[in-house]
């Protein structure tokens, strides 16, 4: 039955080559932790993606309760954490996952750096990877404000002051991020939009490019 459905679609769209490209390639021995235990360092990239998926899923559930305005933001977080079934777990996963994804990405970056895997022909993939790193830091920074407690508020205030101290452009960046001259109602809605729509959109595009290049170029060979 499933095979029948697959064949029906395959006849019309010829999806088999796509499937072979995504799934049916060989993985070399030197990155396989089952053959060489030290090859677990090659898992950090996959784990980063795994945690990213957790972040996207838990974030989707959080937005079901979260309200991005300065009166209700804090109380909606308080409510979803303490009153909603499994809310504590979902918010916990999103909170700790944000740190873990940075850790994993950092380890992945170090592995790529110290194995020299960014060398020709993979320069572009490193650049895309660094852009992913910056987007992740941006997600961390914007997400930190959303619970709208004192820690969030004052960290954002300091962060935007630092952004404001960039020569020439700083003041414009600060006003753009603030949505005005102070950290306030506009900043919260702005950070919410950036955190939920702009940066995830950029992240998914960059991830697609990252994975496309890995498939195209293969994993770098053994040292």
């Amino acid at each position: 039955m499933l095979k029948g459905m697959y064949n029906w679609i395959d006849e019309r769209l010829d999806i088999t080559p796509m499937w072979r490209d995504i799934a049916d390639h060989e993985v070399p021995e030197h990155v396989n932790p089952a053959h060489h235990f030290s090859a677990f360092v090659y898992c950090f990239g996959g784990l980063t993606f795994f945690i990213t998926v957790i972040q996207i899923l838990s974030g989707m559930f959080l937005t079901m309760y979260y309200v991005p305005d300065i009166i209700n933001a804090y109380y909606s977080v308080d409510y979803l954490q303490h009153q909603v079934a499994f809310g504590q777990i979902v918010r916990g996963m999103h909170h700790w996952g944000a740190s873990l994804v940075i850790v994993m990405m950092f380890l992945h970056t170090l592995r790529v750096f110290f194995t020299g895997s960014y060398k020709a022909p993979r320069e572009m993939n490193w650049v895309v990877g660094m852009l992913i790193f910056f987007v992740m830091l941006g997600l961390g920074f914007t997400g930190y404000l959303l619970p709208w407690d004192n820690k969030a508020y004052f960290a954002t205030k300091v962060g935007l002051e630092i952004a404001g101290s960039v020569p020439y452009l700083g003041e414009y960046i600060k006003i753009l991020m603030n949505g005005g001259t102070i950290v306030g109602a506009q900043t919260l809605t702005r950070f919410f939009a950036i955190h939920v729509f702009f940066l995830p959109g950029a992240l998914l595009t960059l991830l697609a490019a990252h994975f496309f290049m890995i498939r195209k170029q293969g994993i770098s060979g053994p040292l």
Partner: protein, 288 residues
């Protein structure tokens, strides 16, 4: 395409176009099926093995999530002047870096651009800066040592920043709000009371409002922070404070200050402090 290709032909058919054949070999490497060794299919063989690693990480992650609830402090109060700001841990090194004499104040442009911006741009362009063919890190001493140096520097800055934060908490006798909040929730739970939601607590009525101590407090500007009716504001509400603190504790707080509160030693006489703390101690929820 079914037709045979002549390897010496300079022009080939691709789809329905005739294009010039490239002389250069492709820059991308050969497929790994061409490599010797025990390679295996990505799905399902390899992915299942990687999933094992994923499961170990997932279990550790969920243990952390369940044992440590995500922190939440008190609602943001832009007028709170005594809050000690702290970014998330992975920004600490940057936060600390921009505190040194030559990276802050009138040098902050240098700190932001040269000390923070340039290293990140260098990292972004690493493959073009370290463009030799050699991949092993011990054969690329400059790139590797710069990276190791950055790692040590970032770890050190993070450590200094965190230590400084702990130090500031200690000298100001401040408990981080999310911890204080959890403590209060736990105490309420143990007493069988509903969980307090910060900013939405019912403040008890004032007890013995005609006491001269209240007049003293108005004159000493206590009400500037604690609210004209002691309902709280920049500082906590004092109505109901008798449920939380003893007379002696209230007395010491007025005398020595606490957190953002200045000490009133010298500004108020011992007699005044005594009458205020006696009166505040009577401020209990069910005292009327």
């Amino acid at each position: 395409m079914a037709h045979k290709q002549d390897p010496n032909e300079k022009v080939v058919y691709v789809g329905d176009s005739r294009i010039r054949k490239r002389d250069r070999a492709p820059a991308y490497p050969p497929d790994f099926s061409a490599y010797p060794g025990k390679s295996e299919a990505f799905i399902p063989n390899f992915l299942l093995k990687e999933w094992m690693v994923g499961v170990v990480v997932l279990v550790g992650f969920l243990v952390l999530v369940i044992s440590e609830p995500a922190p939440l402090g008190y609602p943001a109060d832009p007028l709170n002047g005594s809050f000690i700001p702290i970014p998330d841990w992975y920004f600490l090194f940057l936060y600390q870096l921009l505190k040194y004499p030559y990276t802050s104040g009138s040098y902050v442009g240098f700190g932001v651009v040269a000390m923070s911006g340039l290293p990140f741009i260098a990292l972004l362009l690493a493959p073009f800066l370290d463009s030799g063919k050699e991949r092993r890190f011990y054969r690329r001493p400059i790139a590797s040592s710069l990276m190791l140096l950055s790692l040590v520097a970032a770890s050190y800055l993070t450590w200094v920043s965190w230590n400084h934060y702990q130090h500031e908490l200690a000298i100001n006798k401040v408990t981080p709000e999310h911890i204080e909040r959890e403590e209060k929730a736990r105490e309420a739970r143990e007493k069988g009371l509903p969980r307090p939601v910060p900013g939405k607590e019912k403040i008890p009525a004032m007890v013995a409002a005609d006491d001269p101590a209240f007049k003293t407090m108005q004159e000493a500007q206590c009400i500037a922070c604690h609210g004209t009716e002691l309902e709280g504001g920049g500082a906590p509400a004092l109505r109901g404070v008798g449920d939380k603190l003893s007379k002696q504790e209230i007395h010491d707080t007025i005398l020595n200050g606490r957190g953002g509160m200045p000490p009133f030693k010298g500004q108020l006489t011992e007699e005044q402090i005594n009458s205020i703390s006696t009166w505040l101690e009577k401020q209990k929820a069910g005292a009327e």
